[in-house]
């Protein structure tokens, strides 16, 4: 029973980590309909930049963080300027391909600028097992995962408020509904895109910090994008709470599957289990759990 509880908690916390990456996807998809495959590499790039600032320039943590946020905003501006602006009004698949190209660019640039070796990231986040839970209840829970869970929760609340209550949030939703209509009521599409990509960049930075502290900054970090995709399918591409709930379901489902089904079929099923789970969900709700219902007219 204790083992089951431990597996569940570790699944839940892993799910929050997936959800952090999925959040960035949702933001960009919500505000521009772009399926941003580069989100995982953005997390890698942000992590690399942070480590680079700290190790090579000897910056203190707070300054490195601020500088990295600056870099991600600059990146968002560049992406809008050089890529999105030129591809306005193209089909979704073309924009998706452009983000695939962006994936290569960021991956290559990160390696050129900061080197391709595995780097340790330590910005003072608590690590190791939580003593209180271990001593009191015999539960092994990583402190870092608790921090990640809390951060994820806080991010969702902030983003939800940002989207629902602020002027910019309203503009973002307007752009998501209809680009042209938003333009015609005086919303500046380019600014909106820069803002959204910046926010996605900051979310990527948070994801990069969490994953990087856990397992070091390395290329495999960009592959969590592939883990975030089933989370998105499950939660719906347009729903911020969906990303979190989807992440939790995938995280727990994956853990249980690996422990209880894995040994029967030879293990290492976490690669595809999440996708199959999401696929099953989709057969009943094609737009994901919290996605907007697609109304089709001729």
């Amino acid at each position: 029973m204790l083992f089951f509880l431990e597996a569940t908690i570790s699944g839940l916390t892993a799910g929050v980590m997936y959800a952090l990456v999925a959040l960035g996807f949702v933001l960009i998809f919500k505000a521009s309909g772009v399926f941003n495959f580069a989100q995982g590499v953005m997390a890698l790039f942000a992590g690399l930049t942070l480590v680079g600032f700290m190790d090579e320039f000897g910056m203190p943590v707070w300054l490195a963080l601020i500088s990295t946020v600056g870099v991600m905003i600059g990146l968002a501006w560049l992406i809008e300027r050089l890529v999105l602006r030129k591809l306005v009004n193209q089909e979704h698949i073309i924009l998706f391909m452009a983000t695939l190209g962006l994936t290569y660019v960021l991956e290559g640039m990160g390696d050129i600028l900061w080197g391709s070796d595995v780097k340790l990231l330590d910005i003072g986040l608590p690590q190791g097992a939580s003593d209180w839970l271990l001593d009191g209840y015999g539960l092994y829970v990583e402190k870092l995962e608790v921090v990640a869970a809390v951060t994820g929760g806080v991010l969702v609340v902030i983003l939800a408020i940002f989207f629902q209550k602020t002027r910019i949030g309203r503009a973002l939703r307007a752009v998501a509904d209809d680009h042209q209509a938003a333009l015609s009521v005086g919303i500046n599409l380019h600014t909106i895109w820069v803002i959204v990509w910046s926010v996605a960049g900051v979310v990527a930075l948070v994801a990069g910090i969490m994953w990087g502290t856990k397992s070091g900054i390395q290329f495999s970090l960009s592959l969590i994008a592939l883990k975030a995709l089933p989370v998105l399918m499950l939660g719906g591409f347009t729903s911020i709470p969906g990303a979190i709930i989807g992440g939790l379901i995938i995280g727990v489902g994956e853990k249980w599957a690996e422990i209880y089904i894995g040994p029967m079929v030879g293990g290492a099923i976490e690669n595809w289990f999440a996708y199959m789970l999401a696929l099953l969900f989709l057969l009943f709700r094609p737009q994901g759990l919290f996605g907007e219902k697609i109304i089709e007219r001729v």
Binding site: V83, G101, G108, D111, L279, L283
Partner: protein
């Protein structure tokens, strides 16, 4: 001046509906095929065949397959690598289980098996659309790769986990195996690809092809005018997978000779083929060839430029190359989102008027 169709009159429906209605096009294609079949095998060397021409043809085959599904039927798929693996492993199992079976028969059967698998994974396409479907096809990709990696029956319980094509002959000439002549394997691949490319070209002009395009352009409207969406989508999945399966079979049996599933058919192969059809042109058979050529030649060109030309270290050159690939892909999408096939079409329009601008 040279490319002008004035005076070429059609006097029958058959002539009007011909595959290449313009005489110049006909001569160009016939000439190209003659050169590819007769001249190239004699002037080419082993490097050309092994590193350029054979893989180009194989990837063009895979690109045609994906183009049928994505370009013509509008169903975005990221499972290409997995379906190629199905073709390769089906070929391996058939070749080792029935050694006397003709290679062509083996390949067609493997294509059939891949088509069946493709249909299986295509079933959700009726309910799931767009990017949701694309991510769903990733499920196929990961599941298939995992299956071939974990279940020893698929690689005949050998220790390395690799599959190796046993030598096989056709008309007394060896085609697969280590001793096969590169020129011969090139000719074999070329014949297969030519036959299937012509079939595909005709297929997309047929009733089936027009149904696919109707579904792609607006599926609900197509349904209203009497096209059955499930049947149409599933035939697209079947035929597309058939082509991709044969491409996988060729890749494994003819070109590589032996393969390891995660390395040869990973997710990056799915993206590579997707790049090919987007750069080449969605919904164009010729675009599949152009895209395959572009994506095959570009890395070789960049590698030569950076390592041999500018003298960078291989590690650094690789990073620069990855970055540049990304930049070029984005650049290309900005300049011509409809791909190389569209550029070719524009070129032909210009040639038709040349030397006058209007």
């Amino acid at each position: 001046m040279f490319y002008r169709e004035a005076g070429q009159f059609k006097t029958s429906y058959a002539a009007d509906q011909g595959l290449l209605p313009i005489v110049q096009d006909r001569w160009f294609v016939v000439g190209l095929l003659l050169v590819a079949f007769i001249v190239v095998p004699f002037i080419g060397n082993d490097y050309w065949f092994n590193a350029l021409l054979t893989p180009f043809l194989i990837y063009a085959m895979a690109a045609i397959g994906l183009n049928i599904l994505t370009g013509y039927c509008g169903q975005l798929s990221l499972g290409t690598g997995g379906f190629m693996a199905v073709g390769a492993y089906a070929t391996y199992k058939l070749m080792t289980a029935f050694p006397e079976l003709n290679l062509i028969v083996v390949m067609v059967l493997s294509g059939g098996i891949t088509a069946a698998v493709g249909v299986l994974f295509g079933i959700p396409s009726l309910r799931i659309k767009g990017f949701y479907l694309a991510v769903a096809t990733l499920a196929a990709q990961f599941f298939i790769i995992w299956l071939f990696n974990k279940v020893p029956w698929f690689f005949n319980y050998n220790a390395s986990g690799q599959i190796t094509a046993p030598p096989s002959e056709m008309f007394g000439i060896q085609i697969t195996g280590a001793e096969a002549n590169p020129a011969i394997t090139y000719l074999f691949t070329l014949s297969v690809v030519t036959v299937f490319a012509l079939t595909a070209k005709n297929l997309v002009r047929s009733r089936a092809g027009r149904s696919w395009m109707a579904i792609r352009d607006m599926d609900i409207a197509a349904e209203i005018i009497g096209i059955r969406p499930l049947m149409t989508k599933l035939t697209a999945f079947a035929i597309s997978s058939f082509y991709i399966g044969i491409a996988g079979a060729l890749l494994f049996a003819i070109w590589l000779g032996s393969a390891e599933v995660t390395e040869a058919f990973g997710i990056d192969k799915s993206f590579l083929v997707l790049f090919m059809i987007i750069i080449g042109g969605l919904g164009s058979i010729m675009g599949s060839f152009l895209g395959a050529a572009f994506m095959m030649l570009l890395p070789i060109f960049l590698k030569n430029l950076f390592v041999d030309g500018l003298g960078f270290g291989t590690g650094f050159a690789e990073h620069v190359q990855i970055t540049l690939m990304g930049v070029l892909i984005i650049f290309f999408l900005i300049v011509e989102p409809h791909g190389l096939a569209r550029l070719w079409q524009i070129g032909k329009e210009k040639l038709r008027l040349w030397p006058f601008p209007y």
